[in-house]
Structure formats: C-alpha cells, structure tokens
Amino acid sequence: MTDILRLSLPLSVWIAAFSAVYGLEGIVCSDHWAAAGLSLGQGRAALLVAWAAAIAVQVVLLAGLRMPRFASSLPGVQRIAAILAAVALVATVWSLLPVAATSLCL
C-alpha cells in the first residue's frame, strides 16, 4: 500500500488544496467575511497565503519522493510517482493562479 500512497498523495493534496482555496474564496465573498470586520484586501492576502502554502507542500512532496529514503523499490513505480508529483506541482501553480490574477468577488 505504500506504493499506492506514493502514487496518490501529491494529486490528493492538490485536490484538497484546490477545494480548500475555492471554499476560502466562497467565505471571503460571503457576508460572513465582512460581518467579521475583514476587508477584501485581507481576503486576497489569505488566498495568496493559501496558494503559496499549497505550492510549498507540493515542492516538499516532490523533493521527498525523490529522496532514497522514501523511494519505491520498484523503478517503474518510482518514475510514475515522480511524474505525478511534478503534475501536482504544476496543477497547483496553474489552477490557483487566479487568486493573483482575477477580480475577487465580481
């Protein structure tokens, strides 16, 4: 099962981060955010921090999966795990890029 974990972890972390940031955007744009005395600027900052944290986690996963200590004994699985970790990193950067590039609650 460890190999299955190696293969599934980075993209699972991506979908969790993606859903969390989408949820955070929903909260920032809801009445609750303003009611708590927070501004949209602070909302944007929170989203940027969440995006940066998601990227950092993916970088750590990519680096970790390449370390001999966490590597698979099957070369084929090791290669696929490395590809998937890279895919998850690219997906995190690309899919959450809108937090820096688009209007927030329009």
């Binding site: 099962m1 299955i4 940031v21 929903g26 070369p75 998937l84 809108p98």
Partner: protein, 832 residues
C-alpha cells in the same frame, strides 16, 4: 504439445471444472457467482440497454426532423429525452465497461475469479432489476421527465408532482449499488489477486486503467447518491434543502450532481482509453510506448477531473475568480489526454500496424474524439460557454466525446476480445460496412448539430419553429441519425452472428502478450488452471510456453486436492504469494438480496415506509446469511500452495479480503460524509436566509454521550480484538463497544429532539447528519452482535481473528464520523 502434457492438462481441467462450474439449468443462472457468466449476462444486459437508449434517440430525431412536429407531445418528449440520457449514462455506459471488466480482469491478471464473486452477482442483479424498473416506468408512462440531471426546483414536488422523479432518484441510487460493488471488487482484485511476479509496474495497462476508474467510482458516485437522498427527503418530508425561502439553495444540487457528473465523463472515457492502450500495441505488433507516462496520465486525468465540476455551472452567477479556477483546470486536463493520444500515435509509429476491424474502430475514435476534445476546450472558455451553454453545441460536443470516445473503443474491444468471450473467430464480415455507416451517420448527425447550437437551438426543445433556420440542419441530422442507427444495428447483428454460429477459433489469434490470451477459449469457469509466475508486462511474448505450463498446473495451486474454490492473493506492490483465498460456492443469496433491496428502494415511491423498513430488515438478515457462510470452525495452519510454498488460508490472516473490501467501501462512505459536511458549509456560507431562526443548543448531555460513546466503542473493540488474538474471552470488550455505539446513537438522537426537520435547511441538514450517525452506529452494532454469534459458533480463534478486524474497522469509522458530524452540528451552538 506432446500427449503427456495434454493429458496432464485434461486431468487438471476435469478436476477443476466440477469445483468451479455453475449449477445446471435455470437454477444456475440465478445462483451463479462466476465472473465469466456474470460478465456475459452483464454485457448482454448493457447491450440491451444501448438498444433501448438508441430507440429513444431515434424517436427524438423523428420528432425534430420537421418543424412543429405532432409526432409526440411535450409530456412524452420530456420522458423520452430524460430516459435517453439516463439509460445511456447509467444503464449502458457504466455497466458495459464494468461487464467487460468483470469478464476479462481475472484472466488478464492470472487469477481464478474476482475478489468477491457474490458481490459481483449481487451488483449484476441490482442492475438488472433496477434497469427493468426504469424501462417498465417508461412503458407505463411514469418515467422521469426532468432531464437526466434532475435540477431542482424543476424536480421538486411543487413543480414535478407524481412519481416520475421519485423513480429516477430511487431507481438510479439503487442501480448505483452495482457500480459501487463492482468498483470495490475491481480495486481489491487488482491490488491483491494477480499472478505471482506481476508487480505494480508490470500490471497490464487495462488493469491500471480499471483500478483508476474503480477508485473514481468510489469517490465520484457518493455526492450524487447524497444529492438523490436529500432531494427525495425534500419531496417526501418537506425537508427544504433546495428551497431558498427556507434557507435551501438549488445550486447545492448542481454542486453535488456535477461533483459526480464531471468525473463521470472520465469514468466513461478512461475504460475506453484502457481498451485502446491494450489493443493498439497488439494491432501495431509492438509494445505500448511510454507505459509509465500513460499510467501517470490516467491517474492525473482521474484526479484533475474532480476539479472541473463547476465548469457545468459557468452561467449560475459564480464570481469570476471561482470560474477562473475551474476554467484553468478544464484546460489542464487536455494535457494528460494529449499525452495518451501522443503515446498511442507513437506506438503506431514504432510498430507495424494492421488494419483489422478493431483497429478501424480505433481510427474512428481518433478522428471523432480529437474533434470532441477540441470543442471541449472551447466550452472550457467561460465567455464561449456563456454563449453555447444549454444549446445543441453542447449536445453535439458531448456526443462526440461519449460516442467517439467511448462507444467506438468499446466496439473495438468487443471485436478484439470476441475469441475470449465466445471461443469463435470472426467469420461474417458485416463489421466493416457497419463501421462506415456509423461514421457517416454519426458525423452527419452531430457535426451538423454544432451549427444548430451556434444558431441558438436550445437543448431539450420538443419542437422547432418554421423559419428558425434550424429546419434543414435538423432534417439532415435526423436522416443521418437513422443511418447511424442502421450502422449500430449491423454491428449488433454481426457480433451476434459471429458469437453464435462462426467457426471455432484458436487461442491467441492476435499474438497478444497479456494473460487473458493464455487460457483456453472461451475462458473456462476457473479461468486459469494454475496461478502463473510472470516477470514482464507481456508474459506471453517472453514465454510462449506459458499457456501450456499454466494448463499443466505448473503454477501455484495447480493441484486442487482440497476440493474447494481456491485462488492466490499476493502482496500489493511486489506480487509475492501472501495467502490462499477460499472463494464462495454458487449461492442464491445474492439474487434474493437484490430482490429484497429493490423493494427497500422502491417502496418509498408509493410511501410504503413500513415495507421499506421491513425489507431493510430483510437485507440485514440476508447479509448475515451471506457472511455466515464464509470462514472455518477449525485452524488449518499453513497449506500447500504448490511450487514448494506453503501459505495460510484467508481465514487465518489479520487483514482478510473482507477487510480490504470494507476499507474501500468505507472510502466511498467517507466521501458521502464529506459531501454532507460540504453541503452544510455551502448552505451556511452561500444560501439565502441564513443564519437560521433558531440554533441547536448542544447542552452537555449529548456531547458527553458522544465523547464517551466514541471512546468506549473504539476502546472496547480494540480490547476484544486483543483478547481474541491472545486466546482470552472477548466479551467485556464487545459489550463495552456495544454500549459505546448505543451512546453514540443516543447522542445523535438529542439532535432530533432539538430541531424540527422541515423548519429550515439548517434543521434538515442536522437531521441528515444525525441520521447518518444513528445508521452507522446501528450497522456497527449489528456487526458486533454478529461477531459475538460467530465467536460462540467457533468461527473465531487466536489464528482466525480477521472477522474482528473487519468489525473494528466499521466501529472505528462509525465512532469517528459520529464525533465529527455531531461536532459540526453542535459547533454553531458552542460559538453562539
């Protein structure tokens, strides 16, 4: 082959056949649990549904062939297009690839059956009964009529009175048991039941795809099951989940539906991609280019597809940033799709392709799917989608993807594996004519309909007006549609003729390298006479003598001296021999349970609540009969597995197959629970008329019961498990665990007491959360009682402790979800 090995193989066949065969006559149809028989019946059932869905498509095209058509009225038309979509998506597309998988997977992996044969039979009968109910509803004029995605408020009781919508919500949920069951089977089979030496990086590519798809089914279907459940609760008990005036939000349905619906597209496409990845290298007389990249692409596509659901909701007023997230992922999925396409083109490039009939269909796939993929990228662009949404452009796009991307490869697969399925080689040559008719008819229909959409023709309109500019397009599309239907009819005729009356074929006519071609054709009931040892992805290429070695019993379990159905389980990654799995014999229980389950699901359509509860009790009873039949009352110790290896039976390992099956079933359950919490958070954050007028007061009793119950339930079962393994009395632990579960149920009950189910969406959601906790505590409690009975009957010992591990898993899950769910229910009260 010399005479001696042939005799050895024949003797082994004569020994294995009586053990694995079906019961004779009609009884055999109802009691079979064999993957080949279930797979064949499943294929025939799903093909029948394709024909039914096709007939409805022709009725649609007949209606739209001329302006202001009087062929049928809007009431009938609504049922026809709803049932066309429902049948094609739920009763044909998913069941058909599941059927093919059920048939092929054991032989392909070099094992004797799927991990849970009775679950396969149960799933099949649920599917057949559910499909029959849907068809009967159509013939009776009470079929669903709200479109195949059943958006509220159109599907709410105010706007859709009558039983049509209930039949959809309950019927489809019932049929999904079949998909979930098959998914659990496929995951456990691929992970644990393989040839020795078939490591994860040597898995047949089709098996990789099906593993990915099965996990997708387990994670994509639960949101829609939850959506169906709460929409039915709204219709039956006025629990206002989707009514804005009471704090509900119809967009919640869209989120839950498309959380399923978009991955569904890839659940349908990926098996087809698996078929192509399996067939293409054989047709090109080479190996698959970039195996690792293709596996990575399949996994990437599967996970990325869960970040796409909102692209079906671009016109619902979601803020731009939210739209941009989903637009970005929608473009990203084109990359792994492209990787697969390029790997296939590269495979053709490095090989020497032969244009046999399966290859012809794959060529048809390439042309059609690439076109459909490109229009997919177009609708992924938000501004374009705002214009094309709910027009015939989208209808045309989805048919390009689903027919081109799924049906064509599946037909290629049927022709390719026809010798394994039927034992015959293709003799009649209608297939080529059928292919060209289908290609001409398909593009004549759906290429044109893109233009109709761009000219503003909305989907689901029941008639078109003269002078709208759509008349010519629709007439041509209808004529082409009938050509398409004739083409598919010829395919069915050709396959049937070749299956029934063509001459017997020889083993492995394509010179393929994977193990499904190592068996005699058609595949015998036991699939492989012995479990082979392999050391590459294409074992038949590396060792052409392997089929003979398997037939002579030179693999594992080649001497069936114990006169029972046995196969080998291996370690997940390294495929080393792990234990001997004893498979169940033929049984009527799966069929009986499917019948009783159908009553449980359909009784609420006519408000038959007592009948529903009675049949739920019946299902629980039959489940216990089912589980009681397994296991052993004495320790067997290590058994001879052949090749000088001794292994324990599955009853004497700590994590038996039932534990693995439970683990993946609970994964699906956890996704449903997560979707429920998502719905709660969504309503609280986005829906109008929140916060609710009254918040539940947690008090101290309920939380104390929940905390104490969770600790007692988990601690008790751990104590019992430890006691069993040390040969001591497990009763104190089991009683404590039962008390803990009762406390959890009691804690959940306090939520019912503090809220009114139909007052507000908040109250309704809390009722579902509490109901979830009560249900799971009840199931876990029943399992603990069942374990007690098994201990008393002598099925459990220090060696045979697997049952306790299964129960422990369920109790842990019940306690964890109850604590989380009830905590979420009480949280607003604590914060207030």
């Amino acid at each position: 082959m010399t005479d001696k090995p042939r005799l050895t193989a024949l003797r082994l066949h004569k020994a294995l056949y009586p053990i694995w065969r079906n019961d004779p006559g009609w009884k055999g149809v109802l009691t079979t649990v064999n993957n080949n028989t279930i797979g064949t019946m499943f294929i025939l059932g799903a093909a029948g549904m394709f024909l039914a869905g096709g007939i409805l498509a022709m009725l649609i095209r007949a209606q739209l062939a001329s302006p202001r058509s009087a062929f049928m009225g809007p009431e009938v038309y609504n049922q026809i297009f709803t049932m066309h979509g429902t049948i094609m998506m739920f009763l044909f597309a998913i069941p058909f690839f599941e059927a093919l998988t059920v048939f092929l997977l054991p032989a392909m992996l070099g094992t004797r059956d799927l991990a849970f044969p009775r679950l396969g039979a149960y799933g099949f009968w649920c599917y057949m009964i559910g499909a029959t109910i849907m068809i009967v509803a159509l013939l009776a004029g009470v079929a669903p009529d709200g479109g195949w995605f059943m958006y509220p408020p159109l599907s709410s009781s105010a706007h859709s009175p009558g039983i049509n919508t209930d039949i959809w919500l309950l019927g489809i949920s019932f049929i999904e048991i079949s998909a979930i069951g098959a998914a659990v089977e496929v995951v456990v089979t691929v992970l644990r039941y393989r040839a020795v030496g078939m490591t994860l990086d040597r898995l047949p590519i089709f098996a990789w795809y099906m593993l990915v798809v099965a996990v997708m089914i387990l994670t994509a279907f639960p949101p829609m099951i939850l959506g169906s459940l709460i929409l039915e609760l709204e219709r039956a008990f006025d629990m206002p989940f989707f009514q804005a005036e009471h704090g509900g939000d119809s967009l919640l349905w869209q989120h839950l539906f498309w959380l399923f619906g978009h991955p569904e597209v890839y659940i349908i496409f990926l098996p087809a991609a698996g078929v192509i990845s399996a067939i293409l290298p054989v047709m090109a007389r080479t190996t698959l280019l970039g195996y690792g990249w293709v596996v990575a692409a399949a996994i990437s596509l599967a996970v990325l597809s869960f970040g796409l659901w909102v692209h079906h909701m671009f016109t619902t007023g979601i803020p731009h940033m939210g739209l941009a997230f989903f637009s970005a992922v929608s473009t990203l999925v084109a990359v792994p799709t492209g990787v697969q396409i390029f790997a296939w083109i590269g495979t053709l490039w490095k090989g020497r392709p032969r244009m046999h009939l399966p290859m012809l269909w794959i060529m048809g796939f390439f042309v059609t799917f690439v076109m459909g993929g490109l229009t997919g990228v177009m609708v992924a662009m938000v501004p374009f989608d705002w214009q094309a949404h709910d027009t015939y452009f989208v209808v045309a796009h989805l048919h390009y993807v689903l027919i081109g991307g799924y049906v064509f490869p599946m037909i290629a697969g049927i022709y390719y594996w026809l010798p394994v399925l039927t034992g015959r080689k293709r003799f009649f040559r209608m297939g080529e004519v059928a292919f060209w008719l289908v290609m001409a008819g398909f593009h004549g229909t759906f290429l044109l309909l893109h233009w109709a959409g761009l000219l503003g023709m909305r989907r689901r309109v029941d008639s078109i007006e003269a002078g709208s500019g759509w008349e010519g397009i629709n007439l041509l599309a209808s004529v082409s549609g009938f050509v398409l239907a004739i083409g598919f009819g010829l395919v069915v005729l050709d396959v049937a003729a070749n299956a029934l009356v063509a001459v017997r074929g020889r083993r492995n006519p394509w010179n393929a390298g994977t193990l499904e071609w190592a068996t005699p054709i058609p595949s015998p009931a036991y699939n492989v006479a012995s479990i082979p040892v392999v050391d590459s992805r294409y074992p038949l290429h590396d060792n052409p003598g392997l089929p003979v070695q398997i037939a002579r019993g030179e693999g594992f379990l080649g001497h069936p001296t114990r006169n029972r159905r046995e196969t080998l389980a291996v370690s997940v990654s390294g495929a080393r021999p792990d234990f001997i799995a004893v498979m169940p014999r033929n049984s009527i229980v799966p069929f009986a349970m499917a019948v009783v389950t159908s009553v449980m699901f359909m009784a609420p359509v006519w408000k038959g609540w007592w009948l529903m509860f009675a049949s739920a009790g019946g299902v629980a009873m039959l489940a216990m009969v089912w589980a009681w039949a397994g296991g052993s009352r004495h320790d067997e110790g290590l058994l001879d597995a052949g090749r000088g290896v001794t292994l324990p039976p599955h009853t004497e390992i700590s994590h038996p197959p039932g534990w693995w099956g439970s683990l993946f079933l609970l994964l699906a359950d956890a996704v449903l629970f997560g979707s429920l919490l998502f719905g709660y958070a969504f309503l609280w954050t986005v829906a109008p008329n929140w916060p609710p007028p009254a918040i539940l007061e947690p008090g101290t009793g309920g939380p104390a019961l929940a905390a104490g119950g969770a600790v007692l339930a988990c601690g008790g079962i751990r104590g019992a498990d430890q006691a069993i393994r040390r040969g001591r009395a497990p009763w104190p632990g089991l009683v404590a665990s039962l008390a803990g579960l009762a406390a959890l149920g009691g804690a959940a009950w306090t939520v019912f007491g503090g809220t009114t189910h139909d007052a507000h969406a908040y109250d309704a959601t809390l009722w579902v959360i509490a109901g979830y906790a009560v249900f799971h505590a009840g199931v876990a409690g029943l399992m603990a009682l069942f374990l007690m009975a098994r201990i008393r009957a002598g099925f459990i010992s220090a060696r045979r402790c697997g049952d306790a591990r299964v129960v422990r898993l369920w109790i842990d899950y019940a306690a964890l979800t109850a604590a989380l769910g009830l905590g979420a229910a009480w949280l607003p009260g604590w914060l207030a």
